[in-house]
Subunit: 454 residues, 2 copies
């Protein structure tokens, strides 16, 4: 037990650039289309809601993009994040596999989200923007943007899915502590919100609705921009620091992963860990088996269609080609709110389409069981989203035991569960239920996909 | 802004021993007395509730005590903890002072408490103990012992002050997630609890009552021991790793603290940071100005008496000489539950008696203001307890600005506020009130101090 379990990087070894998988894709991605014309969008189309630097990153195929100094300065508050070997979990599972995890819960808001919130706030501030509007589901993203906004002196307004707004007052309190204003969505602040409230005054809201509200606010005010916490290319770019650090740390550990695992909602924590490894593989390096884990209740990669679709409910966003359950699909309620999105990041979707990654889905009860097993062994209670990655890491380790092979597994522990104890209480009290989407609803949502670019 | 802000130690530089201030006190501490006989207690008196190794540490005057390998292994899950320079806070305050803080919120339960929970679980397990009983107020200690118990496979039962049991279901959920059983105290599980419930069925409980219950459970069962999260000498010993690490990290930073600050409830996080520095000073090294910060509502160091007193309400514990408000004193309700204890650690009390440390008290509203100012600048929302240290660090930095002197301040940020967002919400909504104890009640409690050893 005297072996090292934690692999820290010194600050001087922290990556100074992000990695862009678009540089190494063997075939290029399908372009985003303008929602009105159905033609590929231009930078000018995006200028109403994004600053120039982020638009440039969104379309860039450059392999390495420098991280600005002021962003590095703030990253240093919690980065490099630790990479740990889960020796006690290995022992509990009696597996010959080695299990490593990269731990992003050490950030100020407890997840990987500040990795992109900080550069987004920085680039917007540099472009003279005074205010950022955004949406949040479980609250991880909203609190991260609130944190980043407070550091750069930029105002933040958050549209929080109403059901979470009511269920998660403490996430809201954290956003307010960082100085953000928070509205329950659908709200009376926007046309999109008012239109939905007129039809269903008791709407619980959804990420798609909240995105519509936030985009509308940004589009209407030249000094307000929009910020998104996942899905977009520039968001995945910023998250690549996770994998770049992990590669160096695995070197220090003297190991190389055979299997990489991440949970997927919009796809950003997953992409952050695996894209630098996929890039290395595409450039002729070591092959890795990559597994994306999504909730059975919202299975965009395993049950969705790879097609052009809108990112939001009111159809204000560009059309992007992605694995989607349809923008009108409403997933059943479950605890991993951060994975409750109808679409998958276009870059992750493209990687899946090219056969570079596998995808599986898991039910929440088995994920919480895995989270508790992990927590008791390693002392960290994972966020409900992250328990999906833990579940499959454990499944793979058990498979190794059964097959008698000692593979090296690396998964992304994207956040801690301190703000999700209600879910653990429900599990403890036997109140948690597995959830599956309605097949008919899914079929209808898929039938309603826009026909453009098909 | 390109200066380093975070000072990490590599694992190989992590201290391998704890530091014991008893070795360097110029005059020895008064001995603990047996509650029945009023005579100094013996090791045998303590054997019913503590394992031999902890009894030995409790009375040791050895300067350095080795940290066992299995404890170091678990410490590595989060230690060495970071030391940070609060440059953004310095800038916000326009102070010439340098402000550093040691951050203990990176532990699995979010505070310094696991530093002693882990060795206590280890030594008890080694002594063949199957179960540990303890009390908890705000829940930081209970969840830390539950965590440590789960790692060593030792059962944990927690008596949680009833008012916190009701107000903080998520802390309770964390303890249960780690496999502990949690009772609201006063409970029907013990004679002490039943006696109090008979007189006041609606008793909100107190730490003193919960300690009585936990000690009773341990005393009655030979395979159950008691664990305390603060106050005792061996607890302060285990926390010294905070200051030992900080000394190395301040060296790396090329700085030396002029002022050391910690919040004090039972005294353990404060002692953990400052005792290694006080020892160096007592051995002829650099002099430091040490400030203990306590809540105005429970001011044992600033308004208590230095006298022999009981640690609990039912008078089951030994009598120890400490700064005390009287074991019958019930502090008014306020948010920093971890600072709501009638007594102060005997070692901290002795240091205060010898003039080695200063003590001040602060009201909670000004502490939350300081916590938010810190959070907005540095991205970490402090636990309500830790805001007391932040408040005085800011006060001292402002004093530096006014006097035009650039002192170096180091404070202990003992935990994050993720489980205390209700307090931040109350502050945000203007519901927080300053609280002061009742002078008459304090006078009565002090008049009731036992006359032994006076």
């Amino acid at each position: 037990m005297s072996d090292q379990v934690k692999y820290l990087l010194s600050e001087k070894d922290m990556p100074t650039h992000w990695y862009n998988l678009a540089a190494d894709f063997p075939t290029p991605m399908a372009p985003p289309l303008h929602p009105g014309t159905g033609k590929p969008i231009t930078g000018a189309d995006l200028a109403a809601i994004f600053p120039p630097a982020l638009i440039e990153q969104e379309v860039s195929t450059k392999r390495e993009i420098d991280i600005p100094g002021p962003v590095l300065d703030i990253y240093r508050l919690w980065r490099p994040s630790p990479l740990m070997r889960a020796r006690r979990l290995e022992k509990a599972l009696q597996t010959p596999a080695k299990i490593y995890f990269k731990y992003e819960g050490v950030s100020p808001t407890g997840s990987h989200k500040p990795n992109t919130a900080v550069p987004q706030a920085y680039y917007n501030k540099s472009a003279g923007i005074h205010k950022l509007s955004t949406e949040t589901g479980a609250g991880q993203w909203g609190s991260s943007l609130a944190f980043a906004g407070s550091l750069f002196g930029i105002e933040v307004v958050v549209f929080m899915v109403r059901v979470s707004f009511n269920q998660k007052p403490y996430r809201r309190a954290m956003m307010e502590a960082f100085g953000a204003s928070v509205h329950a969505s659908p709200s009376k602040e926007t046309d999109s919100g008012r239109a939905i409230l007129a039809n269903s005054p008791d709407s619980p809201g959804s990420l798609g609705i909240a995105i519509s509200e936030a985009v509308e606010v940004a589009a209407k005010d030249p000094r307000t921009n929009y910020a998104l916490g996942s899905v977009l290319n520039h968001v995945l770019l910023h998250q690549s620091i996770i994998g770049l650090e992990a590669m160096k740390q695995m070197e220090h550990a003297g190991d190389e992963p055979d299997i990489l695992i991440g949970c997927t909602g919009g796809g950003s924590n997953f992409a952050g860990l695996v894209f630098p490894y996929l890039g290395r593989q595409l450039r002729g390096g070591r092959k890795v088996h990559v597994i994306a884990v999504e909730p059975t209740a919202c299975p965009s990669l395993t049950r969705g269609k790879f097609a052009y679709d809108f990112g939001d409910t009111a159809h204000l966003t560009p059309l992007v080609k992605m694995h989607t359950l349809g923008s009108t699909f409403v997933p059943p309620g479950f605890h991993a709110g951060g994975l409750r999105y109808h679409g998958m990041a276009p870059m992750v979707s493209h990687a899946a389409h090219l056969g570079l990654i596998d995808a599986v889905n898991r039910q929440q009860i088995s994920c919480f069981e895995a989270g508790l097993l992990f927590g008791k062994a390693e002392g960290i209670l994972p966020a409900p989203e992250a328990t999906h990655a833990v579940r499959v890491a454990i499944d793979e380790a058990i498979k190794c035991r059964e097959e008698g092979v000692g593979k090296t597994i690396l998964f992304n522990l994207s956040g801690h569960g301190h703000f999700d104890m209600q879910a653990y209480m429900d599990f403890h009290d036997g109140k948690l239920q597995d959830r599956t989407y309605d097949e008919k609803e899914l079929a209808m949502a898929l039938a309603g996909l826009p026909s453009v670019g098909a």
